[in-house]
């Protein structure tokens, strides 16, 4: 499996990036899910895949019986999955709320609302320009 995992991670990552660049915020979020998955898979590969035995210590012994899977990437990925889920939930809620407030889930249309905060960036730059001229 270690031979094809890098390709698999790359394929998922590529699809994730493509989805991230779509107009619809929903597809953007799908992109985030895919990217997290791909990165987790990459971490898993980096810890080397050699065995099917989980890193568990049998009753009565103090060391796991070799060979056992590398526990370190597993701990990292476990954390990443949970945090990734938190991010996803937040992003979804944000998309939902921005639809409620602005009536669109299209990235490109977010700018067009005059009350939208991201357009404040543009005005801010203009102010900077005028300051010392």
């Amino acid at each position: 499996m270690d031979t094809i995992l890098p390709i698999l991670a790359g394929a998922i990552f590529a699809t994730g990036i493509y989805m991230l660049l779509r107009q619809s915020l929903i597809l953007t979020i799908i992109g985030i899910i895919l990217i997290s998955n791909s990165v987790n898979l990459a971490l898993f590969s980096l810890g080397r895949i050699s065995t099917e035995n989980p890193p568990l210590i049998a009753a009565g012994s103090v060391m796991p019986e070799a060979p056992f899977a590398n526990p370190l990437p597993q701990a990292l990925i476990l954390t990443a999955i949970v945090i990734g889920f938190g991010l996803l939930a937040f992003a979804l809620a944000l998309a939902y709320r921005s639809y409620k407030e602005l009536g669109t889930v299209n990235q490109d249309e977010l700018l067009e609302d005059p009350e939208d905060t991201s357009s404040a960036i543009v005005t801010h730059t203009e102010n900077n320009e005028n300051r010392d001229s």
């Binding site: 031979t3 995992l5 990036i17 597809l27 810890g47 035995n53 796991p64 990925i77 900077n128």
Partner: protein, 775 residues
């Protein structure tokens, strides 16, 4: 010496409260501080005059490569600067009390001027290169505060910023030069560096060190083409101009080059650069002073001329030039300090500084008139004043220059002619002639404002008539410090009928003639053009650079932060791809053995399923249901991969999270409209190229890392320690809840905050935004 500087800083910070206690008397009380410091420094004079030096050192920062000591070094040069700073500082504190009397920001003035005084003393007394730099920057910073004292006026703020930018950029260059110098010689103390001149001069970095140090010194001391900030800084209140922009801070560059002359000097490059810039500056600025009618502008340009003269002397680098430098610095500090204070007094009492609107003030302001007259005579170099001695030695040094003496002496005489005329203008126009109506009814300044000028002016006479008072005790040690070895000479007023005296007479005659035709000269077209080219144009260049920088910043912000998320993403991705791709190209170490023997049938099946789901997702991108199902399949597929390779915990978590994810996405998708993609084919192609490159990069990264031999040190530690230390049999769980428990707690907090944010986003409404619900 640390105590003196520390005391000044502490008093500065307490000054606003001291002001609350003593109100109008604060100036007289605070003046005791520089006076005390002056006397303290004066007590070292016998020891310095006898050829001694004093070092005091306290370790501050100690590091492997270098140490920064709060070390202080007192020799002739630093003693004279210290005396000027504290001596004139005493008068300035008094003067400021009178000049700014009634100004609501007077406490702020005391604070800033004392902070400046402490910093400036630090520059001249510090022994360590890094501490000199720190104090140097502090003078720039406090100077910014003082120039911008009238912060309600835009002109003040602009002038303050201009001075800060010009000297600040120079300061950065200086830091570079000092660090190079420290590493080249291994010495960070100036006192030790003074013996390492040969090492530095022969070091391959000599030219770089020299240019960087000169960059710092020339900007600080307003040498052409950086001279423009000094006249601009006249926006400051006059006590500040008199102190910072005439007597002390602008001489920091001169001090630095004089200090480092034994280390960096004695080369042709030094002589050409320092002498060349000095002589150009003195010539240009001397005649510029005649193109203005504002007293402070005239004095400012004559100060730039004096700084140019000092630079020229340092550049000439002969014994005689060192003598001239020592005398010139002292005489200039005295007469220019006095003249600035008188100019401020006229402004304060008569309401204008324009010499065309002033006249006949000598009857109304007799003490100021005497002070101004004596100081101006000294500036013009007329015997028996101290300025005469200074000018004679300057001429003598120029005549004996080792390179192009004719050029140096000609330019010096031409410039001094203008200075004689300027001296006449600043004293004759306001004080003599017909009395004219002034905006305010003029009368003599309060004692706090005339005591400084009159003492300085009288000293100019005393030192001129009795030069032995200062020569052996101060001037000789100063010249020795700059020369690098002790010198022995004496000063006298009368040198006999020699070349310098003839040139002095010529200068005087030329100056008086120039004064007579000044009104016509000032208004003539060549003078206007001259002013345009050398006074206005540099400011325009500076403004252009600053506006250009702001424009560039605005432009790149508009390009990079245009508010379109897809643009941000593309920028980030392309930057990452280029950076990582470049690294791959320059150091490729990827090994990929396509060994499929250990790939099982179920591995193939799983991989094909996942890749197939990706394909379906891309092909049916507009169908919400298809996409969710495909994403779900990929997630569950991943959990199977984990399960089959010894990661049961991961598999369980992934199944759980994937299930929740699908549910959440479905819940949201119910409420939002169908997916519509209306992007053009071009942008799809662009995104496709980026995506494929990114995927490729990911694959190559994994291959590159796995090509490196695996070091299982940390993993093995956890496996071995898990049961004995934490009594847990599931190593992954032990890592999470025991070894890295704090991290896990942080993670739990993050998830909790995300949960709160989700709740807020869904449930809460902004007050006042109850516009129509579009769901």
């Amino acid at each position: 010496m640390l105590i003196v500087i520390g005391l000044i800083f502490v008093t500065a910070l307490l000054a606003p409260w001291i002001f609350k206690l003593f109100r109008e008397k604060t100036g007289w009380i605070l003046a005791l501080l520089p006076l005390g410091s002056f006397l303290y420094l004066l007590s070292f004079m016998p020891e310095i005059a006898a050829g001694g030096t004093i070092t005091q050192s306290t370790t501050w920062v100690s590091m492997e490569f270098f140490e920064v000591n709060l070390a202080f070094y007192l020799d002739g040069l630093s003693l004279m600067f210290g005396l000027i700073i504290t001596g004139i500082g005493t008068f300035i504190v008094l003067y400021g009390a009178g000049y700014l009397s009634g100004n609501e920001y007077l406490p702020r003035f005391y604070l800033a001027i004392l902070l400046f005084m402490g910093s400036m003393l630090g520059v001249v007394l510090a022994d360590n290169l890094i501490s000199i730099f720190v104090f140097w920057e502090l003078t720039s910073f406090t100077s910014y505060l003082l120039i911008g004292f009238n912060h309600e006026q835009e002109a003040s703020r602009k002038a303050a910023l201009q001075a800060l930018l010009v000297t600040g950029i120079g300061g950065l260059a200086l830091l570079g030069g000092m660090v190079l110098m420290g590493f080249a010689s291994g010495q960070w103390e100036v006192s030790a560096l003074l013996n390492e001149g040969d090492i530095i001069r022969e070091h391959p970095h000599y030219l770089a060190i020299l240019l960087l140090v000169l960059g710092g010194a020339f900007t600080k001391s307003a040498q052409f083409p950086f001279h423009f900030w000094l006249p601009g800084a006249m926006a400051a209140p006059t006590p500040v101009s008199a102190y910072l922009h005439s007597a002390t801070m602008v001489k920091a560059g001169v001090y630095l080059l004089a200090r480092l002359h034994p280390v960096l000097g004695f080369t042709d490059t030094w002589m050409i650069l320092v002498g060349g810039f000095g002589v150009v500056t003195l010539l240009i600025s001397a005649w510029l002073s005649l193109s203005f009618t504002d007293l402070k502008q005239i004095l400012a340009y004559s100060t730039v001329m004096a700084l140019g003269t000092m630079m020229m002397l340092i550049g000439l680098g002969t014994e005689l030039a060192m003598q001239g430098l020592a005398v010139y610095i002292l005489s200039h500090a005295m007469y220019k300090g006095a003249l600035f204070m008188v100019a401020g007094g006229i402004d304060h009492e008569a309401g204008t500084r324009d010499v065309l609107k002033l006249g006949g003030l000598r009857k109304l302001m007799p003490i100021s008139a005497v002070a101004a007259a004596l100081a101006a005579l000294s500036m013009a170099g007329i015997p028996p004043l101290f300025g005469f001695i200074a000018k004679e030695i300057v001429y003598e040094a120029a005549l004996e220059a080792t390179l192009l003496p004719v050029l140096f002496i000609t330019l010096a005489v031409v410039a001094n002619i203008a200075i004689v005329a300027a001296s006449a203008i600043v004293v004759i126009r306001p004080f003599f002639g017909k009395q004219v109506e002034t905006p305010k009814k003029a009368h003599e300044t309060p004692p706090s404002m005339w005591i400084g000028p009159i003492i300085l002016a009288v000293l100019s006479v005393v030192f001129g008539v009795l030069p032995f008072l200062v020569d052996k005790s101060l001037i000789v040690p100063v010249a020795g410090s700059v020369w690098g070895e002790p010198l022995d000479f004496y000063l006298s007023l009368w040198h006999g009928f020699n070349m310098p005296l003839m040139l002095s007479l010529l200068t005087l005659a030329g100056g008086l003639l120039t004064y007579r035709i000044w009104d016509g000269l000032r208004e003539s077209a060549p003078m206007k053009g001259y002013q345009m080219v050398f006074a206005r144009f540099p400011v325009n260049v500076y403004d252009g650079l600053v506006n250009g920088m702001l424009g560039l910043a605005g432009w790149q912000t508009r390009i990079l932060q245009n508010g379109l998320m897809s643009n941000y993403l593309v920028t980030i991705m392309v930057t990452a791809l280029v950076a990582i791709g470049y690294t791959f190209l320059t150091q490729s170490g990827i090994i990929w053995n396509p060994d499929f023997s250990n790939v099982h049938v179920y591995d193939w099946a799983l991989s094909i399923t996942i890749v197939g789901s990706l394909g379906i997702m891309l092909a049916f991108g507009n169908s919400r249901l298809t996409i969710i199902v495909a994403a779900g399949i990929i997630g569950y597929g991943l959990s199977l991969i984990y399960l089959m390779h010894g990661a049961a915990d991961l598999a369980m978590t992934q199944v759980l999270v994937e299930t929740l994810t699908v549910i959440l996405v479905v819940l949201v998708l119910i409420h939002v409209p169908k997916i519509k993609e209306v992007r053009s084919g071009v942008s799809r192609t662009r995104d496709g190229v980026i995506a494929i490159s990114a995927g490729l990069m990911m694959t190559l990264l994994i291959l590159a890392v796995t090509a490196v031999p695996f070091d299982a040190f940390i993993s093995e530690y956890y496996a071995e320690a898990s049961y004995p230390l934490a009594h847990g049999r599931n190593i992954v769980n032990v890592i999470l809840v025991d070894f890295r428990a704090l991290d896990t707690m942080g993670e739990v907090v993050v998830v909790a905050i995300a949960g709160l944010a989700v709740y807020a986003l869904i449930k809460m409404t902004r007050p006042g935004s109850s516009k129509e619900n579009k769901s």
